[in-house]
Symmetry: C2
Amino acid sequence: MTIFDVSVPVSARLPTWPGDPPVSLTRASSIANGDPANVSRLEAGVHTGTHVDAPVHFVDGSTGIEEIPIETLVGPCLVVAANPPGLELRPQDLPETPHKRILFKTRNSEHWARGDTDFETEFVAVGLELARRLVAEGKLLVGVDYLSVESYHAAFEHPVHHALLEARIVVVEGLDLSRVDPGEYDLFCLPLKLVGSDGAPARTVLVRR
Amino acid sequence: MTIFDVSVPVSARLPTWPGDPPVSLTRASSIANGDPANVSRLEAGVHTGTHVDAPVHFVDGSTGIEEIPIETLVGPCLVVAANPPGLELRPQDLPETPHKRILFKTRNSEHWARGDTDFETEFVAVGLELARRLVAEGKLLVGVDYLSVESYHAAFEHPVHHALLEARIVVVEGLDLSRVDPGEYDLFCLPLKLVGSDGAPARTVLVRR
C-alpha cells in the first residue's frame, strides 16, 4: 500500500482567497514562558488550503460540512490529467468513466510544487458545461488543484458552485496533485467535522494498493 | 467496506481543556448580507476535539505535526476495550499484540455518546507503566477516548506525554469509540498539516473490510 499525501501545508505563507480570513498560528501557552506545554491557537478561514465546500457555502440555509456522508468522502476515485487551452475544464477533458469521484490534475499543481505564496488568479477551474455533465452523470465528488472549483473571473452568481452544490456533489479544492500520476486510487478526504460550517480544511490522501 | 467516523463534532459546545482557546466559528462573509457566498472563520486551539499531539507539544524545539509520517497515521490498528478500576490504564489492560497502533476504548467514550458539554476531569488515561510498555514494544501510535492521554491529575512534568512523545509515539486524543467494537481495523487519522504546530485537529475514521 502506497499513501500519497495530496494536502498542502497550512501556514501564514499559504495563499488564500482574496478577502478570506488569513491563517494565523500563535502560541497560547509556551514552555519557554514557564507553561508545562506548548499549545497553539489557530485562526483561519474554513476554505483554507486543501478543503471541502458544503452546500451552505453557496446555498443559504442548506447543510453544513458535518452532514456530508463519510461514504462520499472515502472511496475509489480517478485522477484525470487535463490541460485545457484556456482556464476552463470542458466536458471533453473528462473521459467516459464509471468512477463517481473525479480529481482533476492540471498545471495548477505546479504552484504547490514550487511553493508559490502569492494568490494566482489565472488558475484552471471547472467550466459550466463540465459541471452540468458531472451532475447529469450522478458524480459524487469533484476535486481540483487550486483554491476554487470555479474560475476567479466567474459571475457574481457563481453558476458552477451552484450547479455542483445544489446537486450535492462534494467539492474538494486546493489539492496538490503534483506528485501523483493519473489513474485509480482510494480517496480519503477527511474535513474537520465543523458543525454547520460552509467549509472545512481537509487532510486528504490517495492510497494505491 | 464499512467506515466508522470516530471524530467528535467540533462546535462551541465541545468541551475543551481548561485554559485552552475556546472554539469559535463565525461568518466572515454571508449571503444574507449581500455577499456571493457564506464564508466562515474558525478560531480554536489546535488540541480541540479529536486531535493529534506533535513532539513539540511537550518537547520544546522538537518537531511539529507536519513532520509526522503519514505512514504512521494510516495503517492497521487494534481497538482494545479497557475499563480499569481507577483512572489509569495499566500494562495488563493491553493484551499481547503485534499491532503497532493501539486505540483504547474506555468508559470515557460515553461522554461523547451522551453529548456532554462540560469538561470532565475524572477521565481514564494512560498510566506511566503502560506508557513505558508502549515505548519498550516500539508501538507507533496510541489513541485515547478523552482529551488527554495523561491524567488530569498528572504532575507538572507530565511524564506520560514526555515518555510517549520523546519516543516519537504518535498520540491521538479525543476519539469517540462509542460506536465501534473492539478488534482490528484500518486507521486513517488525518490531522491538518499545520506547519510547526504542537497539535492539530484530525478527522479520523476506522475502516473494516
